[in-house]
């Protein structure tokens, strides 16, 4: 293999020379070339206004000082605002809207102060500090051959004197021991969480558990659910479970939606007589990655997940009609109890929520 390339770039440009385009009296542009036009040096340095005009330099000095002075004053104004503007004071500012007066004042003063310090420093650098570009040679990044040889020799001498090469048993046991040290972490990290076991397979839904509205926890009678309506619900035992466990774990799996369809609209469901007089109960947790699905179209009976737009047809066993979810929404079989309130016939017959390897 060989590298084929045309190095069209000119070599290092050495001395500076004038390479200014000039215009002759007739406006014809010609170029006054010096000896090597392909590799000119740095363009000629042009003096700035502040280099030749002391008044301009003085003006720049005043501008920089003014910016720094603002930087020095703003903490005091900031402090006054901190003390005198109550934290809950709201003000209406056009374009911004109603906003916290304290946040606005503190932010403007602090931001202005910091900005002015920066602007002052850059203005100083640009107007008053030298602006002549300097050329520095690059050094060779790799070591010289002699340096490399020396390093290799020293390393080899160390290996030799330690006997790392000589004592095979030491070398192998050391490597083995070092390779084994991460094993300490395995049992230590095990207690980060429980083994999955069957945790993901069950929820606290059970036979006879009342279906209650989310938030207000009111039990529901079939006639409470209008046609086309969607009610977000949880099991009546959720509050007690949450109190006992102190976690939201149960809540993350139990949410369901109740919808009422006319019997002829129900094309299929996941089990025989899982509805109650056209009232269907489906899990609310998306089978994709677990967001609560909340958008219901009462005409098509589609339930849409706002996260990734998986769409489930509640009139047809909760099948996926669009989006990245692969599984139907699990259905909960329901009936009514002796008092006429909606209850579950039992737990879900399949895990709710996102898929997992052992799910099957």
């Amino acid at each position: 293999m060989s590298v084929n390339s045309e190095a069209a770039a000119p070599g290092s440009g050495g001395d500076q020379h004038d390479a200014l385009d000039t215009q002759d009296a007739h406006g014809v542009e010609t170029s006054a070339h010096a000896q090597n036009p392909l590799a000119p040096g740095l363009p000629e340095h042009r003096l700035r206004r502040t280099d030749i005009d002391p008044r301009a330099a003085k003006r720049a000095e005043r501008q920089v000082s003014l910016l720094f002075a603002i930087g020095a004053l703003t903490p005091i104004i900031f402090f006054i605002g901190y003390v005198y503007i109550p934290n809950d004071k709201l003000i209406l500012i056009p374009l911004i809207g109603t906003t916290s007066a304290s946040n606005l004042f503190l932010g403007l003063t602090m931001g202005l102060g910091l900005f002015c310090i920066g602007a002052g420093a850059i203005h100083w650098a640009k107007k008053l500090m030298p602006d002549v570009e300097e050329v520095a040679e690059r050094h060779q990044i790799r070591g010289t051959d002699a340096e490399r040889d020396l390093a290799v020799a020293q390393f080899n001498a160390g290996v030799e004197s330690s006997g790392f090469g000589q004592y095979k048993l030491i070398r192998r046991t050391l490597i083995g021991a070092l390779a084994a040290t991460p094993l300490f972490a395995v049992p230590l990290l095990k207690d980060l969480g429980p083994m999955p076991a069957t945790l993901l397979r069950y929820t606290i839904w059970a036979k006879g558990v009342r279906i209650v509205t989310d938030v207000s926890l009111a039990p529901i009678k079939p006639e409470d659910i209008p046609f086309g309506g969607l009610v977000s619900c949880v099991p009546a035992n959720l509050a007690a479970v949450e109190k006992a466990t102190g976690t939201l774990n149960a809540r993350a799996k139990v949410p369901v939606v109740l919808v009422r369809l006319r019997p002829e609209e129900i094309r299929s469901q996941q089990g025989k007589n899982w509805d109650y007089q056209g009232i269907l109960c489906y899990s609310k947790i998306c089978t994709h990655v677990g967001c609560p699905t909340a958008l219901y179209d009462q005409k098509s009976h589609h339930l849409l997940c706002p996260c990734h737009q998986s769409t489930f047809d509640l009139a047809d066993s909760g099948h996926v009609v669009f989006g990245p979810a692969a599984r139907s929404m699990p259905q909960l079989a329901i009936t009514v109890d002796a008092e006429g309130y909606l209850v579950a016939q039992g737990d879900f017959t399949q895990p709710v929520g996102p898929s997992f390897w052992e799910r099957g």
């Binding site: 060989s2 590298v3 084929n4 390339s5 190095a7 069209a8 770039a9 290092s12 390479a19 007739h26 542009e29 170029s31 392909l38 000119p40 740095l42 901190y82 934290n87 304290s102 606005l104 503190l106 602090m110 931001g111 102060g113 910091l114 900005f115 920066g118 602007a119 420093a121 850059i122 100083w124 500090m129 030298p130 602006d131 570009e133 300097e134 050329v135 520095a136 040679e137 980060l192 969480g193 999955p196 102190g246 976690t247 774990n249 993350a252 947790i285 994709h288 990655v289 967001c291 958008l295 706002p306 737009q309 669009f322 990245p324 979810a325 692969a326 996102p354 898929s355 390897w357 052992e358």
Partner: protein
């Protein structure tokens, strides 16, 4: 700036410097480095913005850590924000409300922290693009490219961890998605999810764990890697754009002290100041409007922070493929967009410099930057990747687009599913053609000069436009860059009639090399340039002669 003003400063500093030098020998370091030269270009500020944003993040984050309680213990809120009074929420969320409403300046610091994080990621992304398109990743800077890649990945993780901490409804939804993704990983996913969350979602362990990751582990790693990143820039010296006097062997610019110290130090304050001003006038992540996280609720139109948008888009666009067999479930609909695609993208990004070096066979050091047009295939690959990224990002906004433009979400999703395959290759081809056309234009300019806009009438009555040679500065820029030719594999038999052995990957390498460099426009040779110059001079002489002889040339640009 006169000497009598700086005198006392030098004297006072002298005593301190003497003290330090006698103990740590600082003069040995300074004498070499105070005059270190840094080249100037606006695009070199992008990395600086990332660095300064990180410092702003450390400062504002430390303030927030003094007040934030990383706990998922349920409390009843009774703070200043009356709309949530009496609501049950985690301590994390309650303390975030306290920072926003009860700690003076707390809201400002929260907003500074969030804006700085967005700016940090934006600066890293654009800095990456600058480095890619100008070939700054080439030898000897491949390792710094890798460090930069890790910083990018860590920045994304750190940002996600940060905005998940307040435990509001929006961020909790993001965590739910993350948990669903982890749980869907084949074989180990269920165990990994249980370990990370301390059991089932959401548990009570996660926020405290995420907190230590967010305030110690990742920022510590980022700090270390930024240090290494900068030390390498320091040691290898910065790249520079081609121009008069700039070569592969030198570096042209301003000295570290005082000019660069003032400019870079000043720029830190500018970045800090602008972030604070933005936080004064523009609300970001108003968690009090979202409410506390509860697994039963969600807001329509949930959107992650911008740098997560493409990942969310990949999840949205992926068709619903899931395999169930032998009692196991393989959720390709989750695993491919959230693990496989990012894995491929980050691996390809990390390996790119090595791939290109393999294709060119060029082992030399490069300190002069490429103009993107001079490397058409690389530039094409870059824009193609950007197109892919942007399409995924748009996919993450498909619901917003649907509601704002009254379009069908199904059609948008399907259109994007097709476009992610069709558009990037098109973008590649178009970019490459553009680059080659620009190269031709450069060649044309070098040989025939630029168009002056002056029209000349020849004695024959013909009208021509006068072209003038480009300036020396321009010429150096246009001539810069190396024109590579595809690698040729030596297949000729040697004097004994033995064909050289082919290595297994030779054919692939030759193909990739041809893909990169088969089409290139040659730069004019010095002879061609000299000839062109004589031609131009002859023309302008005849023009001058005409003017002198009193034939007034018509002018299209309205006189001089």
């Amino acid at each position: 700036m006169t000497t009598h003003e700086t005198g006392p400063i030098v004297k006072a500093g002298g005593a301190a410097a003497d003290y330090v030098d006698e103990r740590v020998g600082v003069s040995k370091f300074l004498k070499k480095n105070l005059t270190k030269v840094f080249p100037d270009h606006w695009s070199f500020m992008l990395g600086e913005i990332a660095l300064y944003s990180f410092i702003v993040l450390l400062l504002s984050g430390t303030f927030l850590a003094l007040f934030f309680k990383p706990s998922m213990t349920e409390v009843t809120y009774h703070g200043s924000y009356v709309y949530l009074d009496g609501i049950r929420m985690s301590e994390a969320y309650a303390s975030t409300l306290d920072i926003s409403f009860d700690v003076r300046g707390g809201l400002l610091m929260r907003q500074v922290h969030h804006w700085a994080a967005l700016l940090f990621m934006a600066a890293i992304t654009v800095h990456l693009m600058r480095v890619f398109f100008t070939g700054a990743f080439r030898k000897p800077r491949e390792l710094n490219w890798l460090i930069g890649n890790i910083l990018l990945t860590m920045g994304i993780l750190e940002g996600f961890a940060g905005y998940s901490l307040p435990d509001d409804l929006l961020s909790g939804t993001g965590l739910r998605i993350a948990q669903g993704i982890v749980q869907g990983i084949p074989v180990v996913g269920t165990y990994a999810a249980m370990m990370i969350f301390g059991g089932q979602f959401p548990g009570t362990d996660f926020i405290p764990r995420l907190y230590i990751v967010h305030v110690l582990l990742i920022p510590g790693a980022i700090l270390g890697l930024i240090t290494a990143h900068l030390m390498l820039v320091w040691y290898q010296k910065h790249t520079q754009f081609p121009g008069p006097g700039r070569t592969e062997r030198n570096v042209v610019g301003y000295p570290l002290f005082p000019v660069y110290t003032a400019k870079a130090g000043g720029f830190f304050f500018i970045v800090f100041g602008v972030t604070v001003l933005l936080s004064a006038v523009a609300s970001i992540n108003p968690v009090w409007l979202f409410g506390p996280y509860t697994p039963t609720q969600i807001t329509a139109g949930s959107q992650p922070d911008w740098y997560m948008g493409w990942l969310d888009g990949a999840l949205r666009l992926m068709p619903n493929v899931e395999i169930n067999a032998w009692g196991r479930t393989l959720s390709l609909n989750v695993f491919i967009p959230s693990v496989v695609i990012p894995g491929i993208i980050f691996t390809a990004l990390a390996l790119y410099p090595f791939l290109e070096q393999w294709a060119t066979g060029d082992k030399r050091e490069h300190h002069l930057l490429d103009r993107p047009r001079n490397m058409p295939t690389r530039t094409g690959i870059g824009t193609m990747s950007l197109a892919f990224y942007v399409l995924l990002w748009i996919g993450g906004d498909n619901d917003i687009i649907a509601t704002h433009f009254d379009m069908s979400i199904n059609q948008i999703t399907w259109a994007l599913r097709v476009m992610v395959f069709v558009v990037p290759p098109l973008v590649f081809v178009i970019t490459k053609r553009f680059c080659l056309a620009l190269q031709r234009r450069d060649r044309d300019k070098l040989l025939h000069g630029y168009e002056t806009g002056t029209i000349m009438r020849m004695p024959s009555g013909e009208y021509i436009e006068v072209h003038a040679p480009v300036s020396d500065e321009e010429r150096v820029k246009l001539l810069a860059g190396r024109v590579y030719r595809p690698l040729e594999i030596d297949r000729e038999p040697d004097e004994n009639g033995v064909r050289p052995k082919r290595k297994p990957l030779d054919a692939a390498r030759a193909r990739i090399s041809a893909f990169y460099y088969a089409e290139q426009i040659s730069k004019p040779t010095p002879d061609e340039l000299t000839e062109a110059e004589h031609h131009a001079l002859a023309l302008s002489d005849s023009y001058a002669a005409q003017v002198e002889s009193g034939v007034s040339p018509p002018s299209v640009d309205g006189g001089h």
